[in-house]
Amino acid sequence: MDTFTTWFFGLFTNWPVVWKNFDYLLIGAYPQGPLGGLAMSIVMAVIGIFGAFWIGLAVGLMRLSRKKWLSWPALVYIEIIRGTPLLMVIFWFYFFAPILLGQAVPETHSAIAAFTVFTSAYVAEIVRAGVLAIPKGQTEAARSSGLSHTQTMMYIILPQALRNMIPSFVNQFISLTKDTSLAMIINVNELTLSARHIYTRTMKAPMEIFLTIAVLYFIICWVLTAFSRKLERNMSRYQARNNAH
């Protein structure tokens, strides 16, 4: 019984380490030093998803094109990225951005570039699925009323498709938020690396530290998941469906 009691109370003795360093977990050394911690993770995720949206939209539309010289490069890009671990893509950017640009590149920039390129392959698939889900009759009606292919896409198909894709985009943003933890491998000081810094500095309370950051990630992702589920429920009411006619 005694060993159990010591073990049980031992689970609670190390938490002060976490509270003393909690501001480092949230914003790093920010006012005095560089931004880090959770704030850095969020900044990278937001910039990454913004870039990935535009590249993914372009690649997804290229993939849908009937011109072979447009659809093939898009297909190859999507398949290569989706078959490669994100860690590999991060290493690619980390080692080759300096060689290609001929100057030193901050790790943060390499990481954001890797996230953008990686996520846009997945966004391209979302765009493709979203466009294909719009009933074909809409394209035919738009084309027969005299709109060109580009006009049909811009004014008829994309406005509907993009609205339906919002829940998938939110899910992709959740994945990206989790994926930002991989930037630690090239020394970007985001939440996971901040936690490792604290552990290396104190050599104490690894369970408490990693549990805390797991909960921090969980809160963000779980709130976003609940948001995306709510969007999905609200949206299904207004959707145009294939079986409507």
Partner: protein, 233 residues
């Protein structure tokens, strides 16, 4: 840009062997992990669909927590932080193994199990509820109805999503390098460190991952065509 390509360097000396060793470890890691993940995932699904509320809550909590936290954090938690909560006999057994590899398997299988449980659940829910009712009415217990009637059909439906989970697992196994498991990405990094020819090293590793994914998906498609021609319905 002054970078001279030297492809023969990558395969000179022991470097070719390093890549193969890494590939073998990646395969072992993913193979063991998918096995345990399937077991755990099935267990979680059964708990999730049972009538006993605490089991349902445990399963939902497990699935939500493991799906919504990054795998790296989970790996670090198991590697650095799991000491106070693991029972002594398990720790003693664990420390006699290759600790990095074992931690990698634990982290990858507990993580993937949450995703597999979700796929299985949607597979099971797509089987008409009348089947469960009919089998219960003929006198099977809940577990019997699950294992003889529902699960065999559900597994067939969920094979495509399970394959994509397995492919994800192969890619995720690269994260085990963060705790020093010598798998493919770790070895590519190692070759880069020794030769300073990162472009070639990462190309080789990327091609290995790509062909692994392609081989798995091709193999399973062939298997499906041949062996599972009679589908559900």
């Amino acid at each position: 840009m002054h970078y001279t390509f030297n492809w023969s360097l990558i395969f000179s000396g022991n470097y070719g062997q390093w890549f193969l060793d890494g590939l073998v470890i990646t395969l072992q890691l993913s193979g063991l992990s998918i096995f345990f993940a399937l077991l755990l995932g099935t267990l979680l699904t059964i708990m999730r669909l049972s009538d006993f509320k605490p089991l349902v809550w445990f399963s939902v909590g497990y699935i939500e927590f493991f799906r919504n936290t990054p795998l790296v954090v989970q790996i670090f938690f198991w590697y650095f932080g799991s000491d106070p909560i693991l029972p002594d006999f398990f720790k003693q057994w664990l420390y006699q193994q290759n600790i990095e590899f074992a931690t990698g398997v634990i982290a990858l299988s507990t993580y993937t199990a949450a995703f597999i449980a979700e796929e299985l659940r949607s597979g099971i829910l797509s089987i008409p509820k009348t089947q469960l009712e009919a089998s219960r009415a003929t006198g099977l217990t809940f577990l019997q109805a699950m294992s003889y009637v529902i699960l065999p059909q559900a597994f067939r439906i969920v094979i495509p999503p399970l394959i994509s989970q397995f492919l994800n697992l192969i890619k995720n196994s690269s994260l085990a390098m963060t705790i020093g498991v010598m798998e493919l990405t770790y070895m590519a990094r190692q070759v880069e460190a020794h030769t300073f020819h990162g472009f070639e090293a990462f190309t080789v590793a990327t091609l290995m991952y790509l062909s692994l994914s392609l081989l798995v998906s091709l193999g399973i498609t062939q298997y499906n065509k041949k062996c599972l021609r009679i589908g559900y319905q």
